[in-house]
């Protein structure tokens, strides 16, 4: 039972009613694959992109939205967020991103709340999917993140446990010990007899020391057996080299996050073919691990051919990775790669099928922007998920409306 929980990668496919065709005309299409934008029409049927061509002739029963040359991108996908699992950070009772007894085996999947206010908020700002992740902890493995489509349906569309998250670096004890723990756990996970896992863990000093459960070991085993993406947050240049060594030794599908000192080991990182998740705006040398931190990070990595995805340090506003991407471009990153880093790169690296790019056969998760999508002052005009136009109302727009009206009554009567 426990075993099946971790070996199965459950995909809840979306169930949609049959919809009429939707034609978006004159869209300046950013495919999301790193290529230049071009203007064409997009035909959507049953939530899926059917055709992309110029001058598609519409039939009378089709719904038509004229993009009038506006930019259209794939819906943005956040590669690391707390959407649906944290409502208010400072209120523990609203948090489901921390586990009591599981470590690497911790999955946030069943905690996802489709009614969280973060969903309409981030969606109205262009985010249509997210990987929600466990929070930072001092143990090197934090647990696994799951993918969720942000359609707010109670019938959740998602992918359970798409990636493991962890960290390597300063934590109050020696990082040498953390590396040792990584190596020992990888070895244990690969040599343990799964049919006798409870007994074997009882005999393992390592498992006893860290109070590891079978779920923890089985999850680590997936990193090697299934090449489950492993997102490792690390910054110091020497730690990045250690991470590369771990990847090569154990054949990991490694993604590095933060990597503020990556420019110091640029060639090694590029040669190791490791994608990264960075916040291009975080140029603060917050710790002695991040002394080389600078706004040039994204441009430097991009020019070395390293695939970049984006995070943001700001809780709740995961759409702000767009502002980060804009700053990345301002400091030397290729524009099309920046769009790719918020869309297709995430879908490809985290194995989210049929999403993340504007191409025939993919679900129509699209955003029509009222300007350059990388300008912070630009907003979505339309957001589509599975070809359905999303209501852009949020709790925030409701409050704005309530307080911009003239009234003699208490505002609690304005709704």
């Amino acid at each position: 039972m426990r075993r099946s929980l971790f070996i199965l990668c459950i995909f809840f496919s979306f169930s949609s009613s049959i919809k009429a065709e939707l034609l978006i005309t004159q869209a300046n299409i950013h495919v999301g694959d790193g290529t230049d934008a071009f203007t064409a029409d997009i035909l959507i049927k049953d939530g899926v992109i059917q055709r992309i061509a110029t001058n598609i002739s519409a039939q009378s029963n089709w719904e038509i939205i004229d993009a009038g040359g506006l930019n259209v991108t794939p819906g943005l996908i956040s590669p690391t967020s707390n959407i649906g699992i944290v409502e208010i950070n400072a209120l523990d009772v609203t948090r489901d991103d921390e586990s009591e007894f599981l470590k690497s085996g911790f999955s946030v999947f069943h905690a996802f709340n489709p009614n969280s206010t973060l969903i309409p908020w981030n969606r109205s700002n262009g985010v249509t999917g997210t990987i929600s992740t466990p929070s930072w902890r001092s143990f090197p493995f934090w647990g696994m993140g799951s993918y969720f489509l942000l359609d707010a349906s109670m019938n959740i569309t998602g992918l359970k446990d798409v990636a493991m998250y962890g960290r390597l670096g300063s934590s109050g004890r020696s990082r040498a010990e953390d590396i040792l723990v990584f190596e020992a756990l990888f070895k244990l996970a690969m040599t343990i007899d799964i049919d006798d896992i409870e007994d074997e863990l009882d005999d393992s000093h390592l498992a006893e020391k860290f109070e590891l459960q079978p779920e923890d070991i089985l999850a680590i085993r997936r990193l090697i057996e299934e090449k489950l993406p492993f997102v490792l947050e690390t910054n110091r240049a020497a730690d990045i080299l250690q991470a590369i060594r771990l990847k090569n030794t154990f054949g990991l599908n490694l993604i590095l996050a933060s990597v503020e000192e990556a420019p110091l080991v640029l060639e090694a990182l590029a040669a190791a073919d490791i994608p990264v998740i960075i916040d291009p705006m975080d140029n603060i040398p917050d710790s002695f691990d991040e002394l080389a931190s600078s706004l040039d990070l994204a441009g430097t990595l991009d020019q070395a051919g390293i695939t970049i995805m984006f995070s943001t340090q700001r809780s709740h506003n995961y759409h702000l990775m767009r502002q980060g991407a804009g700053n990345a471009v301002a400091y030397g990153m290729d524009y099309n790669n920046a769009i790719k880093g918020m869309t297709k790169a995430v879908a490809d690296i985290f194995r989210i099928p049929n999403r993340g790019s504007v191409q025939v056969g993919n679900y129509a998760d699209l955003v029509v922007w009222d300007g350059d999508p990388l300008e912070p002052s630009t907003f979505p005009k339309y957001v589509f998920i599975n070809g359905e136009s999303m209501d852009l109302t949020t709790r925030s727009t409701r409050l704005t409306e309530r307080y911009s009206k003239e009234t003699s009554k208490p505002r609690s009567y304005l709704h």
Partner: protein, 453 residues
């Protein structure tokens, strides 16, 4: 004084002593800031936002002797270095009214984390400037984002956390050498969750919001007595806490009040009436839009983020139009400020203003870029009490000026040159004209600075 000498010799001696004490107090830790040497510079053909709400095309600006000497089209000036700003933008130096640079420096390590004297709910006696680490590399990063002045506050653990100080962004090796000349101190006050959490968790008062209110009021009652004693010339032992609070009651010290919720802002306004002082600014005013008219009526600024929310319960009701609603209250008489409280945000206040402006216009307001520029120049200067010296491109003011590579409301634009008192404090094109703090020198590689750009 002459009157005293003749009629009330004894009483006046005491008054003299008291005055001397107060004078000593006010003369301690004064600014010793000296502008760097500067050339006469004329920036020509620029697009300008003057910080007063105007936008000019093809305008020239003369910086001379550290001051703005002339602004206008086609200035004819000889003997000055000419910078052609064709296709570029010029604005006043950007000002952040809420910074913890220096008191929470980078790297964020325990040994220099000096922003909250969280040992008692009222610590009006401490001064944030006494915690500032002059080597903080964040000063330089902010400078690259166009920040020429910033106000450093104590944290919000306490009801009354201590004094805040305004600085010129010219890193130097003493605090006094960085202090903005003649800028008033502020008193940092904090509403809501933080004080009651910090002290409630220790089983101390305040543990509730009603405990918060009682805590401030008790402190004001003590301060009133102290202030009266001083005014009456009584021989009162000097008290650092009451010096600060009496400074607020006399109007010399400005109140910078951390307060998220609208209902709490209204309580703080009522309390300011009870004790007869003026609140200058509500900070982190996530719910300011709910009481924007009251803020405008009472002449109180609101310092806000463009879009931060949800990290705590009192930050749950964020609206992106908050800044615009405050700005437009009572026929546009509101005082809206974009602040950072953040070492990354302070580098991009122009982008934060861009988001807030766009959100306001989406909500139906008609806010120009020139108007939005006031949120990061004129209004924070006013809130810091330095508007007579900086914050706009007006003749006679300090030549605190930013030359931007493009429209400052675009993510692609960068501060190319930053002038402070007419001196080139930062030049994107010349590595020698950028400060490097002691901390950064030779730290990763003995032969270079921490970062090279």
């Amino acid at each position: 004084m002459l009157f005293c000498a003749f009629f009330l010799v004894v009483g006046c001696e005491k008054a003299d002593i008291k005055e001397e004490v107060l004078q000593t107090e006010s003369q301690a830790f004064l600014s010793t800031y000296q502008p760097m040497a500067s050339e006469n510079i004329v920036i020509v053909n620029a697009n300008m936002f003057d910080g007063l709400g105007n936008e000019f095309k093809d305008y020239d600006l003369l910086l001379k002797d550290g001051k703005i000497q002339a602004i206008g089209p086609d200035l004819v000036i000889d003997g000055s270095e000419v910078i052609d700003a064709q296709g570029k933008w010029v604005t006043p130096g950007i000002i952040d009214i809420h910074s913890h640079m220096g008191v929470y420096p980078a790297p964020g390590v325990r040994t220099s984390s000096d922003g909250n004297e969280a040992t008692a709910p009222v610590t009006a006696e401490v001064w944030a400037e006494h915690s500032v680490w002059t080597q903080d590399p964040q000063f330089v990063l902010a400078l690259k984002g166009g920040i020429t002045s910033f106000h450093v506050l104590p944290g919000s653990a306490n009801l009354m956390g201590g004094r805040g100080t305004t600085f010129k962004n010219v890193p130097n090796n003493s605090i006094q050498a960085m202090k903005f000349p003649n800028a008033p101190h502020s008193l940092k006050m904090a509403c809501g969750e933080n004080p009651k959490r910090v002290y409630g968790s220790r089983g101390q008062s305040p543990a509730t919001r009603m405990g918060n209110m009682a805590g401030y009021r008790k402190a004001w009652i003590d301060a009133e007595r102290y202030y009266e004693d001083i005014q009456e010339g009584k021989d009162t032992k000097r008290d650092l806490r009451n010096d600060t609070l009496a400074g607020v009651l006399s109007g010399d010290i400005l109140v910078q009040n951390h307060c998220y919720r609208a209902d709490e802002m209204m309580m703080m306004i009522e309390m300011s009436k009870e004790f007869d002082y003026q609140i200058t600014t509500f900070h982190h005013a996530v719910e300011a839009y709910k009481v924007a008219d009251a803020l405008a009526e009472h002449g109180i600024c609101a310092a806000m983020w463009a879009d931060w929310w949800g990290f705590k319960h009192e930050a749950y009701d964020m609206v992106q139009a908050n800044i615009a609603i405050v700005d437009q209250a009572r026929g546009g008489s509101g005082c809206a400020i974009v602040h950072s409280d953040d070492e990354v945000g302070i580098q991009h206040l122009n982008q934060e203003a861009a988001k807030a402006m766009a959100a306001g216009n989406r909500a139906g307001y008609d806010i120009s870029e020139a108007r939005a520029m006031k949120w990061i120049t004129y209004n924070p200067a006013k809130a810091a009490g330095i508007l007579d010296q900086t914050g706009t491109l007006e003749v006679g003011k300090d030549a605190d000026v930013v030359l931007w590579s493009g429209n400052p409301f675009s993510v692609y634009s960068k501060a190319e040159k930053v002038f402070i008192d007419g001196a080139l404090a930062y030049d994107r094109d010349d590595p020698k004209k950028r400060p490097v703090t002691d901390f950064e020198l030779g730290i990763l590689n003995p032969n270079s600075a921490r970062i090279e750009s």
